[in-house]
Symmetry: C2
Subunit: 503 residues, 2 copies
């Protein structure tokens, strides 16, 4: 029996229906805005039912979310042919394959920008929103769950709203959200955040109850975050970075509180944050997208005072622990819309230290975070450029090699640029750290070549740079050879094939 | 006789000296911060004297400015070997050659960032500032001339200041500057500009008179802006863009006042702004870097209410006209520091329409604004990324070909990325306009290929895209062929050589 006490607006009780009934409200060609950010707070029932419906009835929609969905939902939808257009982010292996085959249009967007693009009319208007909720307030307002993402703008702009009340989420979650929508549709207001913990909005998503056309009950946890296995390379990267922070503190540029931290997800970010928990730091803060297990560990250790994000993406164990002792965390975390967590204005003002992951970097400090061999997308740019462009310090981390050494992640020229050298201050691999601040391109190349490259690729990359310098230029390249490592890989399965000399 | 009434702080009169005496204050290894932005308000005498001094006495400095200098100063300094490091921008043909030969280190920076990099200690501290002034106030404050650039941060941070009082600039210029320096050294203050005309600072650069070690008198106009000759391609580009604006107005996304405009310099921007002066627009505003002849024409025509920039770079005729009737312009223009004109926060808040020039664009909408064949720098990124990343609409303009058709400026893959597809909304060539908003990479390619490419390159580029799609990917590429046009050019002097089929 659904817990109807979670519908405080009594006349809405009549809107309760099954997920497949709700899916019937979604028609071919519609634009759907769904909650969900990094597999948290996403629709667990209605989108799944839509995938089932699309198997037998042609229904192809535009699906906008906060960021990635959990539960294999994106894969199921894409397989069923239910998606014509997907934005602004995904990380589903099945959907990724279909995107790369050209089977659906993926609009990979900076996560800060989707709300503005909707407001500006650069994207089609949202027909229907699907929002996971802890409960519905007496005035129809929606209490979100483990993410905020783009939910507020979807509810504001949609003609109709489907609410998924997830009974697995305690109603006590109310209060950790700070939902802010700019009043002026052109967005011309100052975003008055000057401290990570500052609240500028309200703790629910306002919603005209007339818009709520369906309420579906679920009782299902978020897809758990994968816990990172111990990894020597990640540990080495973290060690280099902590050493760098110590030097910055010694030079008087940072204090033991550092600056508010943004960290991408994954094993390397996890190792860095764990390193901070062990090191001599105090009063740390985060102003990030995703709050992870390591965030909770930092809070538990007493080293972190506050963490602001757009979602909580936790392992099963951590999830249980946080909700078992929620009062301990309640005043130390805040979930905001992603156009606020990722706002250039706030990132610059707070002076963020941004730590993101590169797929590959080139010798001049350009970074590819999204496309394998320049063509095949992995996930998308996500929020990495929002942070890299506007942070106080923009750090990119990556192992120097992958696939057992068959691939060097430092290359002469990246095959796709997500972050230009102007937005990359520091590159760290397990080999070492290159501090690129205040260097010219040739100096950057020297730093990266001497600090970050795997020994197996040292000679080849040095040779490229030296021969390119002979030809001249501010950023010397040999265009006919710039992708030789990549074409080797395509030909032989390894970048390592000897390269014929070109000069 | 120097007009000492321009030194209102009487005891400073003793600091008057010749430019060569002033140059003696600049020693080998020093970091010099000089005024000057797009050839306006730059040091005309002391840097020239430094170039002469460096001919016979080893003096190699780090030279920071606002942006480019006039008078051939950068070329003279570089030729004399006076420059070890140059930042954040230059556009001198002689200096460019020396940079590309590796003869000096050029740190090509986003123009918004230099002030923060100095404040953060990411760049070496400024030893001495050289600032062009209209006059010196009784308290030592400096009244700038035709640009603000980075002058205020240089004066604040330098140990010593050299003032060049330029008698060619009327003292009545005082009042058109709005000099704002964030109080908090970490920059954590809200920049409270919500309208282009808003003043947030003071109309002079504060300076401790004790710091002023030298005053040099000059009487020399800024290097005049080159007036753009009539150009059919530029006119066609302007026509496509005005047509686009009309459509945006019809769709309700823009009004007849558009949004505040930023425009790069050069013939195409000039043609676009002239088009606005003729079209049915009203209450236009600019929030740009450089105010040009076309800005004055728009003000004269009554179509433009206000223009904010960091410099005025005018032709000789326009310069004369503006200063002959200065009261007419005084309340319609404002010159600000470049970290304010180019601040992400303000650009986003005002919702700017940014119009910048591309050297080359690729079929997926990535833009190269700085490097010929990926290696040789032309000028630098300037403020183009500051605006492209944060604008409401980011437009790039370019002719579809150059060098009489030997070069296509639309290529399969750009050889250097200054602006990724995420920061490019519209591309315009004389062939047509591609509106890339809300499109996936393959859709962007279709739009660019069908609208922007020169007919001579149509077949080749279509073939590349079609064959790349067969290989698959979100952003399909054939890496072994991506730079074929460029290697053709290197081999034969033209991109047009037939390409052998690779599949
Ligand atoms: C860049 C990114 C994909 C790296 O994530 P990760 O989990 O560390 O990925 P890995 O390094 O394990 O690489 C993923 C796969 O690509 C392969 N790969 C990595 N680099 C490669 C390269 N240069 N060439 C070819 N393949 C490569 C890996 O071998 C791995 O393959 P597998 O799945 O078969 O093992 C991820 O951080 C991302 O999507 N970033 C963009 C968005 C973002 O930064 N968001 C967070 C902040 S807002
Ligand atoms: C991009 C930029 C160089 C274009 O300026 P422009 O005056 O229109 O330049 P042109 O198109 O005439 O090109 C300059 C030269 O490069 C050549 N060129 C242009 N595109 C080329 C290409 N794709 N490959 C090779 N050469 C090319 C031109 O033929 C020309 O050569 P020439 O001097 O021998 O005639 C200039 O706008 C710039 O420096 N932009 C970056 C900074 C910026 O945008 N600032 C303003 C806003 S903040």
């Amino acid at each position: 029996m659904p817990d109807t006490s979670r519908i405080k607006h009594t006349s809405l009780a009549s809107k309760v229906m099954s997920s497949s009934q709700a899916a019937e409200l979604i028609h071919d060609g519609m634009v759907v805005g769904a909650s969900g950010f990094t597999r948290s707070g996403d629709s667990k029932a209605v989108l799944a039912a839509l995938a089932e419906k699309a198997e037998y009835e042609h229904t192809r929609i535009t699906l906008m979310t906060g960021a990635s969905l959990g539960q294999g939902t994106d894969g199921a939808l894409a397989t069923a042919g239910a998606i014509a257009v997907r934005l602004p982010f995904q990380s589903d292996p099945v959907m990724r394959t279909i995107i790369n085959e050209g089977g659906l249009s993926y609009i990979d967007e900076n996560l800060s920008e989707t709300a503005a693009h909707i407001r500006n009319g650069f994207l089609p208007p949202v027909d229907i929103a699907i929002i996971e909720a802890a409960y519905i307030e007496a005035d129809g307002s929606i209490v979100p769950t483990t993410s905020v993402g783009n939910s507020a703008i979807f509810v504001q702009q949609a003609r109709q709203v489907i609410v998924e009340i997830n009974e697995a989420v305690p109603t006590g979650i109310r209060g950790i959200h700070d939902v802010y929508l700019p009043e002026d549709p052109t967005g011309r207001a100052i975003l008055p955040i000057t401290e990570v913990w500052q609240r500028i909005g309200q703790d629910v998503i306002s919603c005209d109850p007339e818009k709520i056309v369906s309420i579906v009950f679920t009782n299902q946890k978020d897809s758990p975050a994968e816990t990172a296995a111990d990894n020597a390379a990640a540990t080495a990267i973290a060690r280099h970075l902590l050493h760098f922070f110590e030097n910055e503190i010694a030079a008087g540029r940072l204090t033991r509180s550092l600056r508010p931290i943004q960290a991408g997800i994954g094993k390397i970010a996890d190792a860095v944050l764990s390193g901070l928990a062990q090191g001599d730091f105090e009063h740390l803060t985060m102003y990030s997208e995703v709050l992870q297990d390591s965030t909770c560990r930092l809070i538990d250790s007493g080293k972190m005072d506050f963490a602001s994000g757009s979602s909580m993406t936790l392992s099963e164990g951590c999830y249980r622990r946080v909700f078992a002792d929620f009062e301990h965390y309640r005043h130390k975390i805040l979930l905001r819309p992603q156009d606020i967590t990722n706002a250039a204005e706030v990132i610059q003002r707070l002076g963020i230290i941004a730590i993101n992951t590169a797929l590959e970097c080139d010798i001049y400090g350009n970074v590819n975070s999204s496309h394998i061999v320049g063509s095949h997308i992995v996930n998308g740019i996500g929020g990495s450029a929002d942070f890299a462009q506007n942070s106080y310090l923009s750090i990119f981390v990556t192992e120097s090699i992958t696939k057992g050494g068959k691939i060097s992640r430092i290359v002469p020229m990246v095959t796709h640029v997500d972050h230009s050298e102007h937005d990359v201050d520091v590159i760290v691999t397990e080999q070492g750290l290159a501090d690129l601040r205040g260097l010219s391109p040739r100096q950057k190349a020297q730093a990266i070549l001497s600090r970050c490259v795997h020994p197996d690729y040292q000679a080849e990359l040095n040779s490229y740079f030296e021969r390119a310098c002979l030809r001249g230029g501010h950023t010397p390249h040999l265009l006919e050879e710039a992708f030789q490592l990549h074409t080797n890989l395509a030909g032989t399965g390894s970048m390592k094939t000897p390269i014929p000399e070109s000069i």
